[in-house]
Amino acid sequence: MTKRYSAFALLKEGLVGHTGWQPAWRSPEPKPRYDVVVVGGGGHGLATAHYLVRNHGLSSVAVIEKGWIGGGNSGRNTTVVRSNYFFPESAALYEMALKLYEGLSRALNYNIMLSQRGMVSLCHSPAEMETAARTVNAMQINGIDAELLSRAEVQRLMPALNCGPDARYPVYGAVHQARGGTARHDAVNWGYARAADRAGVDILQNTEVTDFIIEDGACRGVRTSRGDIRADRVGIAVAGHTSVLAARAGFRLPLTSFALQAAITEAVKPALDCVVVSPATGTYVSQSDKGDMVLGGGLDLVPSYGQRGNLPTLETVIAGLLEMFPSFRQLRLARQWAGITDVTPDSSPIIGESPLPNLFLNCGWGTGGFKAIPAGGTLFAHLLATGKHHEISRPFDLDRFERGRLIDEAAGSGIAH
């Protein structure tokens, strides 16, 4: 039986016809009771389960997933990781995630194919360059790598980018975070799932939470399509469907669900070796290891639970791409899809206790959940295990909407929300 992945294990298995590999996680029967139940088998839910065991020593943890793990937004995002945020609260959160990503392949014994190829946010006017200089200063004060690039430096990074005088949105420069980049999103899910399963976490796929067990005004577990499961604490990490579960628990949240679209072209030889976003054209793009151009843009601003997306937004994104890279006109579109994102009024996530005691929330990541998975998991595990906030998650509590202390990253995250 081969348990640990390594070059030696691959060689050994190659000699015996690859008969010793075992499934990366089990499909156990649900137990009637766990210490902690996490609803949602995406990146955040699986990472939470992993850190509940690894950081807090819990032994009885389950992840409940309606479909299959990583089948929602964790498999629909555009794989970008970065921490180029403006406010200190956000910088601490997303930098924690990026630092964990940097060691994640080794920590999980699973190659997440992290590629720190650099994140470039273009500026299209002198005024944008001034704002960009402020952003770079803020990031550096927050201890995050950032530099301001001139137009010549941008052109050197991306020879195919139209930086000429004929550009509809002329390029003046850019904000560059060299440690930003991409990671294989499926591998992040599968790596966390495998590590959590090895540590004894029960991953219950094809199990839908239909209701909450509420006794004496507190949450005591969940009712599922496979029977009741009791738990001391329940956490929900279900992204775009958080409001649906909240309604079953009897409260409303500051969330609206929107579709976020993405698309890929056919695969071509290497032509773009960084992630680039243009706030003016509303488009961002990177080239995957396979060679296809992965592109996305702003939200479809139509409240939606339909994982498709509408055509006008896709048209805007593609028009923006062709404006930036005229040579990409030759490419054919291979696939288009959408994920349902839960967007808060300030574009920052919610981590904290819900209005129902013993029920905890990890939601509101909106368009940026993937990059935050290791931090979301670490902080949510801390909250579920101790009942108290980690100092980094405290500003993101639900109470900020009553206190008025919002963390408005709509501008800071570099894409129009």
């Binding site: 409303r252 669900s257 006008p312 909407f401």
Partner: protein, 91 residues
């Protein structure tokens, strides 16, 4: 391109419209409004999956109206001028 129907202009392409909030989210009035009530009005949403009554702005004529649609299938079931939103069409 999906067609939405403005009660004043008739069916138009979706890019002429902008979502303006949930229908029936009334502003709390009076001196005794608590932080929780005000926060709920400002920020908390029902965000339903399925049938939804919404406020939309028709950018070209500037009118705000009620649009009933399904957030899963995107099928539109009705469009009303706010002045005509009597008891029977309240959500």
């Amino acid at each position: 391109m999906q067609l939405f129907s403005c009660p004043f202009c008739g069916p138009r392409g979706e890019s002429e419209f902008r979502f303006a909030g949930e229908f029936g989210n009334a502003r709390p009035e009076g001196a005794t409004v608590t932080d929780a009530q005000w926060s709920s009005y400002l920020h908390r949403r029902s965000n339903p999956k399925g049938r939804s009554a919404e406020l939309w702005l028709h950018l070209t004529c500037g009118e705000v109206f009620r649009l009933d649609r399904d957030t899963l299938t995107h099928v539109v079931s009705g469009s009303y001028a706010l002045g005509d939103c009597a008891e029977e069409v309240q959500p």
